[in-house]
Symmetry: C2
Subunit: 217 residues, 2 copies
Amino acid sequence: MRDVTEVGDEKMAEKTRERGRPRGFDANAALDRAVEVFWRRGYEGASLSDLTEAMGINRPSLYAAYGNKEELFRRAVARYAEADMAYAREALAEPTAYQVIARFLRANADALTRTDRPPGCLSIQGGLSDGSDGGSVAQFLAASRLAGERALAERLVRAVDEGDLPTGTDPVALARYVMVVSEGNAVHAAAGADRAGLHATVDIALRAVPGNPQGAG
Amino acid sequence: MRDVTEVGDEKMAEKTRERGRPRGFDANAALDRAVEVFWRRGYEGASLSDLTEAMGINRPSLYAAYGNKEELFRRAVARYAEADMAYAREALAEPTAYQVIARFLRANADALTRTDRPPGCLSIQGGLSDGSDGGSVAQFLAASRLAGERALAERLVRAVDEGDLPTGTDPVALARYVMVVSEGNAVHAAAGADRAGLHATVDIALRAVPGNPQGAG
DNA sequence: CTATTTCTGTATCGATCGGTACGCAATAGG
DNA sequence: CCTATTGCGTACCGATCGATACAGAAATAG
């Protein structure tokens, strides 16, 4: 049993001085490289050779630092959620439901087409189908996406309470709709759609959201 | 060089009597099994052992009949498009743009959640990311989806010409929006969303479509 | 029948997969 | 210095990957 919980514990890194040979690479920087590989090639499509080459480390170093491929993937997804999905949490802070949704979908369209990042989004590119592992990765990613959907739903519940959304609005259904647009755009972005096209889709999608400037819903 | 074009040539099967030992399996029935395997596991996740077991044939028979794994996959996608996507072509025959879109999204939601089929849709489950092959499968599937999007766009162009959609409506953008909803729903269906949830999303999505009963757009 | 053609089944190919054993290098405590 | 501990690098593991060689079986043509 190896202890692999020290990645990301940089708070105590100064205090507890470890014995033995120090690690010759930055575990968090290497994880960022792993994120890119998984993002581009998916979980199954990313081989350990791809990963170690991109991360600049050897195979045993990878296993010592992260456990195994699936553990590395889960850490990569966690880091992705923290770094590359920060816009989603920021969007939830907008004052009205419409502003929350509009900001989320706009920022999402931008994030899906960043030129310094792989196209699309890791939680979809990572893998949708039951691979050779029996779907544990696909389920993990689905749960990760669902968590975001739930967070949005809770924000929309609050919006209903505050009278921000019309009475009778189903916040859960609306949240699911927003995520569907987001995920559909992610599929398009992965296929090479440009940023303007994604925003054109958001233009239309927002017409279905109560509180939009055109007054629909 | 083997001739692999005889699959699906059942029209001439009676006329041209081949020499040699006859094939011991139904090539089209076996292809249907292959569709299911690719649908559930994706292109990369489907091993030849998975395929031959489901198809009830041996490896050399598979290669003799279909060429190789990628050829088999392309044939499977073609068969899927013909059989499982028939509803999309039928939807295009509806008289108005709104009816076309509504029927498509409704039938799509049903197709994504058929209990006698894998959840989701093959053209997305097949694979989105650049696998070990360099993305040729992902590009093929993206092109396949884009073909459907273009067919819908052309139908909506006609709708604009016929005054069926408001002047100034962008039929290409609207078609892309509809496909985004469809693909987002496919992602949700693959994650286990039920039919009612998908239709609830369609309920909202349709509000953004010009000509809907609520009069938005 | 023989000759020819084509399909089937076994057994296997080299390559790559995820994952490790093991010896050496580099640090800390003594 | 010596010992303990840990990371690094090579070289390798068994399993599985997609793809085939080959021989025998099953059909037609003559």
